[in-house]
């Protein structure tokens, strides 16, 4: 039909002899190069031992670009790196330049075993099955089956350690009606008069004396108190009733992934989360103006008691922090 010929197999390219294969002087040179690399490796190993023994561990030196660094650590690192690198370079250089580089073609063979081998396997298997007597001894068969089943189930039981379910733990915090706001760290109970306009304080709920907050408490209790000019706040009536003279308090736990939202820009009144740049506008009740957070930061209702201390009106009206399956609101 056509006079087009299929492309002929070009075969392997002709073997090109390397310089070291053709020229005895080049071969000698390559041999020396490999030997020098191996010697460098040996010397570096000696330098490694010498710097461990010889340099004091508290000796510091100043190097341009690197700054003040520990001399021993630096020497150990450099000498070990040189030891390994030069031995590696030497081996590769040897293999590439001096070892035989003739390409050898290995023909593939069929994967399937021969008929005789297959038949032999079948006979051996049948003989083994017959001699084990699995078909006749039903007691052994059943107990073995039972044991295997239980072995499979036993790892499943340790999956229980994934639980127990958190139940209501994620919903609540230690803030409750009348909790005073104490600075963290420092432990000063804050009065409304203690905060200046433009001022912030990182606070925790006051605890009964002698009780220390646990790490778990620190994952949900932290609150940021900020004082603005009251006229800068644009809140609905309920949120406004949760502030006191321009003092407003928010949970510090980001509603996105639970990082501590602490970057407060005093002039723009923006609160920024350092992890994923979610930005909250404090003046509108920490509404999200940028970033991946889905909800505003929960606002803590605060007021002052008869002595002028800032206190919580009640706990948070919603769970703080990121979303979770069982979240009720």
């Amino acid at each position: 039909m056509s006079d087009l010929e299929p492309l002929s197999d070009p075969g392997l390219p002709a073997h090109v002899a390397r310089r070291a294969d053709r020229d005895p002087i080049a071969e000698k040179r390559a041999e020396r190069q490999v030997a020098i690399l191996f010697m460098l490796s040996g010397l570096s190993a000696v330098a490694f031992i010498a710097s461990y023994v010889g340099i004091k561990s508290d000796q510091y030196i100043f190097l341009p670009l690197l700054g003040t660094t520990n001399a021993q650590q630096l020497a150990l690192g450099i000498s070990l790196a040189l030891t390994l690198l030069t031995i590696g370079f030497g081996v590769v250089h040897w293999a590439k330049v001096l070892m035989s580089d003739h390409e050898i073609t290995n023909q593939r063979h069929t994967m399937r075993s021969s008929e005789t081998e297959l038949a032999e396997l079948a006979t051996t298997f049948a003989a083994g099955a017959a001699s084990s007597g699995l078909g006749r001894r039903s007691l052994i068969k059943r107990t073995l089956g039972g044991a295997l089943a239980l072995v499979t189930i036993s790892p499943l039981i340790i999956l229980r350690d994934l639980g127990p379910l958190p139940k209501k733990q994620l919903e609540g915090t230690n803030w409750k009606r009348g909790s005073r706001l104490i600075t963290d760290p420092g432990g000063i109970a804050l009065k409304a008069s203690d905060l200046e306009v433009g001022g912030v304080a990182h606070v925790l709920p006051e605890r009964p004396t002698g009780q220390k907050e646990t790490l778990e408490d620190l994952t949900r209790d932290p609150v940021l108190v900020i004082r603005l000019r009251p006229e800068d706040l644009h809140l609905n009536a309920e949120q406004a009733s949760w502030t006191h003279n321009g003092i407003i308090a928010f949970s510090k736990i980001c509603t996105h992934m639970g990082c501590a939202v602490g970057l407060y820009e005093q002039q723009t009144h923006h609160l920024l989360c350092p992890c994923h740049q979610s930005t909250f506008d404090v003046t509108t009740g920490a509404s999200v103006i940028f970033g991946p957070a889905a909800r505003p930061l929960p606002q803590l209702a605060i007021t002052v008691d008869s002595e002028g201390y800032l206190i919580a009106q009640h706990g948070f009206n919603q769970p703080v922090g990121p979303s979770f399956w069982e979240r009720s609101s």
């Binding site: 700054g67 520990n70 580089d101 203690d194 001022g199 970057l263 005093q266 740049q277």
Partner: protein
């Protein structure tokens, strides 16, 4: 007497009498209390006058002729001497250009001029005063461990966990705290310059502030234990180095391994 009594029910009469009384008492007091304070207050009012002159020339175009603030610059009434000493003493003010943030540079005024400006601004309304050197003995009064804890809660989110500074929104940034004069650090905490909030003395005690300064100075002089600190900014430089230099070396090695020898 008759002429006087005619005016005694005048609306201004009460004010005038009080003013005259105050003047009399004041003059008597200053006569009685001797020359010392009088000279001091004289020097102070001299500084205020001088400060006002500098202010009118160097600052009033943005902050207004009476420091009342304009479209381009905030009001300086009540910001206090500490704020002036921080902003002018670090060269942030007068601003180098109208960018989002004033950057620190060589001070544009001499220390004496800065003090005069501070006196003038402080005379407008009470505000945070410049902390005295005696009150800044952080080596004696600071607590290193407490300072670290305070720094991590209150400062680290903006200034980086080792005080190296960091980015804020829209091109603003928190400055590096390395090599900053303790007095300036203290002033920044009590005045809240630019984006920084105020950390007043009643929510963070002076002793706690000194602890933070002590911790910062300790970090600054800390030697890198594990070799190169890479600017102490954490995973960003470390990652950059590994992904460019480290990976580049590996690619180079792979190319070399695959190349045929001539």
């Amino acid at each position: 007497m008759k002429r006087l009594s005619k005016y005694r029910r005048h609306p201004l009469a009460a004010g005038l009498v009080i003013a005259m009384g105050l003047l009399l008492v004041g003059s008597l007091y200053s006569l009685a209390s001797g020359a010392g304070p009088a000279q001091a207050s004289n020097a102070r009012s001299q500084a205020i006058k001088e400060g006002q002159q500098i202010f009118l020339k160097g600052c009033s175009s943005c902050h207004g002729l009476n420091a009342e603030g304009t479209q381009t610059g905030p009001s300086l009434i009540g910001v206090g001497a500490a704020s002036v000493d921080f902003q002018v003493g670090t060269g942030r003010m007068p601003m180098a250009d109208a960018s989002v943030q004033a950057t620190a540079r060589a001070p544009q005024f001499t220390p004496e001029q800065t003090m005069a400006l501070a006196e003038y601004v402080a005379s407008l309304a009470p505000g945070p005063a410049i902390p005295s050197q005696a009150a800044l003995n952080y080596e004696r009064d600071g607590n290193l461990a407490q300072g670290g804890e305070l720094f991590r809660t209150n400062c680290a989110m903006c200034h980086n966990f080792a005080g190296q500074g960091g980015a804020l929104t829209q091109g603003k940034y928190a400055a590096s705290l390395m090599g900053v004069d303790p007095q300036k650090i203290y002033e920044a905490m009590i005045t809240g310059p630019q984006s920084m909030p105020v950390f007043g003395d009643r929510s963070m005690t002076p002793a706690e502030k000194l602890s933070i300064i002590k911790w910062l100075k300790n970090v600054q002089n800390e030697q890198a234990q594990g070799g190169i600190a890479l600017g102490k900014v954490g995973p960003v430089t470390e990652g950059l180095l590994v992904w460019t230099l480290g990976l580049g070396l590996l690619i180079g090695a792979a190319v070399w391994l695959g190349a045929k020898s001539k």
